[in-house]
Symmetry: C2
């Protein structure tokens, strides 16, 4: 438990990943307001929009308008999602985003086969093609990642050896491209990870790649995101994707079954109360979470928004 | 991380503690149905009802009728809450409950002063009086506990030294009474605990009392219950209070701010997926959680009820 980092970097995924699954179209002005509210909290990075086919993801038909409308604040990195050359071009054309490349592979061959009609070999080939696109555009390739790293709804458990082999493939693609990856991200895409598994997995990766910075992308499908995050922190992981209000999920009513990312404000509370700096104003973040709940028009997960912070209580007691 | 127990005992607090804060009166038949559903899951212990003043806790006006109506299943311990001789007499009079005594002290003197108009000295005196009542009734005294063990909304942070001093007081009362306590419970009554604090606290208690069995009672006010439970498991704690569906809490609408206990089914999933036995049929437990949600008539916290279990997915994949 002595490996806790002194500071973590939080990448807010709520706007891009969280809003994407909302059944109702979120007005452009609301998307802009939420991103601007988040940027005022001191957060390091916000994934803003998705440059994918608007016919497939109608929520992001207005990606360009949203990026044009946000107020860029110094010190905040504004990123976006792109899956092909067309999307990358759209992101670059905005002239307002931090555009970097990544090499991402799925640890689940069944997921690839069922959902993308693709073999692992073909996936590696598409990554080589995308690496060439990044290089052609002068976009630095900074991050590797493994999706479905801990388990998969189509394949079941992902044994550690399979995750490590997929990670080897990511490193091999990077080596081919003569790229050094800043960070390796492990994504619990379908909410299979358990804390002891996170500990074991990160330990095994550290054994092989002692100096490699790692990041975690955790989903809360079965309520384990915060415990998995704590397991990551205890292993020294200092880079996390999160989602304000747990956007992307709602365990209730028509949204039942959807599960968002690790909730930003709950994770920030955990960090602050564990002596870990985030650079984030938690009270401002809670206000952004309340805004997110108003915007989507249904209850969001996350506990701190309703439970309140310990600092608020301490301040009240000190003033009394 | 190698101290995980092979088996944990779960004390289901949902019926007693969870229903108590519901604003609407839960019909006696529903209370009975919920307790019976829980008893069919294989759970070790259920805290059924509260024998307190019905004017103060109108939800438990029907405590005797509920106890008379439940189907007692072999292997399940049925407990109840009593705070004085009158309550103890009522529990004993049912002839159907496991009746044991405890010695419980608050680590927060401010909480005692503000909410119970009592000094720590006076609280110890009331415990001596209750010990005499237990002894007079031939009721074994088996459990010590410290409430507000990790922090308090009225006092703020509870330093470890204060918790340890309160624990010393519990042991001193037990020694006076010539009682050996089976278990020491630490209660995070107001949801202040953080995982690293749980680790540090249990480590300090183990240093002083290496062979003392410990239990944890965790509230989810700030979303940390499952991470705190994992921290307890990793320190070898094998006895937990939980609440089906996270009963006692609901972060939404009129219930905003209320926060239940550690959710039973989420905790059971964590245990099973970590190789820890609970003796509980998780599918049956999820059905009991769905029943609890129907009974209270509002969304309950907890994730597994909506997110589903990994075993369900594994079975589906194996059958395909």
């Amino acid at each position: 438990m002595t490996d806790l980092p002194t500071r973590v970097t939080i990448n807010e995924d709520g706007p891009r990943e969280g809003l994407q699954i909302e059944p109702a179209y979120v007005p452009t002005a609301d998307k802009i307001a939420l991103i601007d509210a988040l940027s005022r909290t001191g957060i390091a990075e916000i994934q803003t929009v998705s440059f994918v086919n608007p016919r497939k993801v109608p929520q992001w038909t207005d990606a360009e308008q949203v990026v044009a409308g946000i107020t860029l604040r110094p010190g905040v990195r504004y990123t976006s999602l792109y899956l092909n050359a067309r999307g990358l071009d759209r992101a670059l054309a905005t002239g307002r985003l931090n555009v970097e490349g990544g090499i991402s592979l799925s640890a689940s061959a069944t997921f690839l086969a069922r959902n993308m009609d693709m073999t692992p070999e073909r996936q590696r080939e598409t990554r080589r093609e995308m690496i060439a696109v990044f290089k052609g555009a002068g976009v630095p390739i900074t991050k590797g990642s493994v999706n479905a790293a801990f388990g998969c709804n189509f394949e079941g458990d992902i044994p550690l050896a399979k995750l490590l082999a997929t990670l080897d493939d990511v490193f091999a693609l990077a080596a081919e491209a003569e790229v050094i990856l800043d960070t390796i991200g492990l994504s619990d895409t379908m909410g299979w990870a358990m804390p002891s598994q996170v500990t074991r997995t990160i330990g095994a990766i550290r054994d092989r790649h002692p100096d490699q910075a790692l990041s975690l992308h955790l989903h809360d499908t079965r309520g384990m995101a915060i415990a998995n995050a704590q397991a990551g922190l205890a292993m020294g992981v200092a880079d996390f994707d999160t989602s304000v209000g747990g956007l992307g999920g709602c365990p209730f009513a028509a949204h039942r079954g959807a599960a968002g990312n690790l909730c930003t404000e709950d994770f920030v509370l955990l960090c602050h109360e564990s002596g870990i700096e985030t650079g984030i104003d938690l009270d401002a973040l809670i206000e952004a979470s309340e805004m997110a709940e108003r915007i989507v028009g249904h209850p969001l997960p996350g506990s701190v928004r309703s439970g309140g912070t310990l600092q608020q209580i301490r301040k009240r007691l000190a003033a009394a």
